[in-house]
Each structure stands twice: as C-alpha cells, then as structure tokens.
C-alpha cells in the first residue's frame, strides 16, 4: 500500500487547513505520476489528477482507511486515464502469449550464459534507459500495462491490483508475469551488451 496515501488521508481528516492542502498536493502527485506512467502524456495526466481529486473531495467521507482510499483512487484514475486516451494511440489491446515471450535458442548449441548488465540504478539515472523503460511500458497492451504499473511501480499488492482492475488474483498474476517478461525482453534488446541468458528451444 502506498504510504503517501496513508499519510494524506490522515492529513485530510485532521481538518487542519495546512495539512489538508499538503494532503491534496500529495494525492495530486500520486495520481499525476500514475497518469504519466499509464498515458505518457502530460496533459492527460493533469486532467486525470484534477478529475480524480474533484471526485475525491466529494466522496471523502466514504473512506474508512487508507487502503480503501488507495484502491478507489487508482480505480478512478485508471478510468479517467483511459477515457482521456480514447482518441489517442494506446497500444493495441492484444494478448501477450507466454510461449511467444519465452526466450528461444538455436538448436544444438549450448546456451552461453551472460550476465544481464543493466542495473536498476542505470535505468533510474540514465536518461536514455529511463526513456526506454517508459517506451516499453507504453508499448504494453493496456490490460498488462495497468497491472504492471499498479503492482511494480505503485507497489500495490496482488489483491489490491485485482480490486482496482476488477479481475481475479490469478488473472492479475498471469498478466503481471507476461508484462514483466515483455519489459525485460524490450530492455535487453536495447542494450547490446546485455544479452538474454541464451535463446534456448523450450518444449
């Protein structure tokens, strides 16, 4: 669960004007960040944050705890984000097949195991790699993209992601794995020195 949301709810309910203002800024930051990851367009992320906060202000009383607020917040933001992108170029809503994503290797040769040399720090700090990560996320078909962003970037747990998405936990896990493999393969293809562990013919 997002600790920022927890703090923001406490601040909102305090009634203290300064705390309320700080809470709104925090929640705007959370929703805008989510919108940027999902839509990749600043204007859409701004609209998403604004619309979501307006709805939140009206429904504030209905959230008994931070978990309920976080699930609601992401659910509304997700809908807003998808609506704002309807006229734009979302990645096609295709299914990702695990078989197709699995690494393959030319038959016969023993797989050469090389280390995958991208580090998380590089992706965060290196502008080019960061941009590649953003592009790879945006290239994911939206059902997979949303699950990946909610689980790995927003760090919700599997049950919370399933609730936001309105799908089962099993489907959530299946989509998450395919999305991660898609992303991993996309980044490996970009950095020449970082080869996959060997293209091996499976099954």
């Amino acid at each position: 669960m997002n600790s920022q949301v927890e703090q923001a709810l406490a601040n909102l309910k305090s009634g203290n004007p300064e705390d309320v203002e700080r809470a709104l800024e925090t929640l705007q930051e959370v929703v805008y960040g989510f919108g940027m990851k999902v839509c990749g367009v600043r204007e859409d992320a701004e609209d998403t944050a604004q619309e979501t906060l307006i709805r939140l202000a009206r429904q504030l009383k209905e959230f008994p705890d931070a978990r309920a607020l976080a699930v609601w917040l992401y659910k509304v933001a997700k809908t807003q984000c998808l609506m704002s992108r309807r006229k734009s170029k979302f990645a096609p809503a295709q299914m990702l097949s695990l078989d197709a994503l699995m690494p393959k290797e030319s038959a016969g040769a023993a797989p050469a195991v090389k280390s995958w040399e991208i580090t998380p720090e590089e992706i965060v700090l290196n502008k080019e790699l960061r941009s590649k990560l953003e592009d790879a996320v945006l290239a994911l078909p939206k059902p997979y993209r949303l699950v990946l962003i909610l689980r790995d970037m927003e760090q919700l747990d599997t049950r919370e992601v399933a609730e936001v998405m309105g799908i089962s936990e099993e489907t959530t896990k299946m989509r998450l794995h395919r999305a991660r493999v898609f992303l991993r393969n996309a980044l490996a293809g970009y950095v020449q020195r970082a080869q996959p562990p060997g293209r091996k013919e499976h099954g």
């Binding site: 009634g15 930051e29 960040g33 797989p111 991208i118 998380p120 990946l148 499976h202």
Partner: protein
Amino acid sequence: MADRHCKQVFAMLSEYLDGELPVKNCRQLERHLKGCRPCIAYLESLKTTVEACRRYKAPRAPALSKQVKAALLAAVRQVISIYLSE
C-alpha cells in the same frame, strides 16, 4: 527433460520473485534452478527489471492552479466539517 522443465519454471518466475508461489512449486523451481544456468540468469534479469520499475519515479506534477486548489479546498472543508460534526 530440461526444456520441459524450463518452460514450467519460466511460467512461475514472477510468483517466485513475489514470494507468492506455493511451497511445492517453490521446491520444484529451486531444484531446477540448481542445474539450469540460463534459467538462473533469466530470473536475475527479471528481478532487475522489477527492481527498476520499483525505483522508477514519474516526473513531478505541476502545481495545481489557484482556482482548482481553492475549489478543492472548499469542497474538502465542507466534507470535513460535516465529518467532524458527526
């Protein structure tokens, strides 16, 4: 044999990383990993990808316009005053 097992293991890697894999499958996966360097390397690269996502920070949000902020604060204050008076 290795190929069939690689395929089974490949499907379980994310659940394994998340600590959500049932114990029985976990043992099966760990047995396989002991003898399969490509699968170990793939698992490591998947872990790096997940870690990169966790560390990724979106660009900062622009400040809310004064008008929007004022409207939001008024709406929140109204809800809170009802909430606190209950």
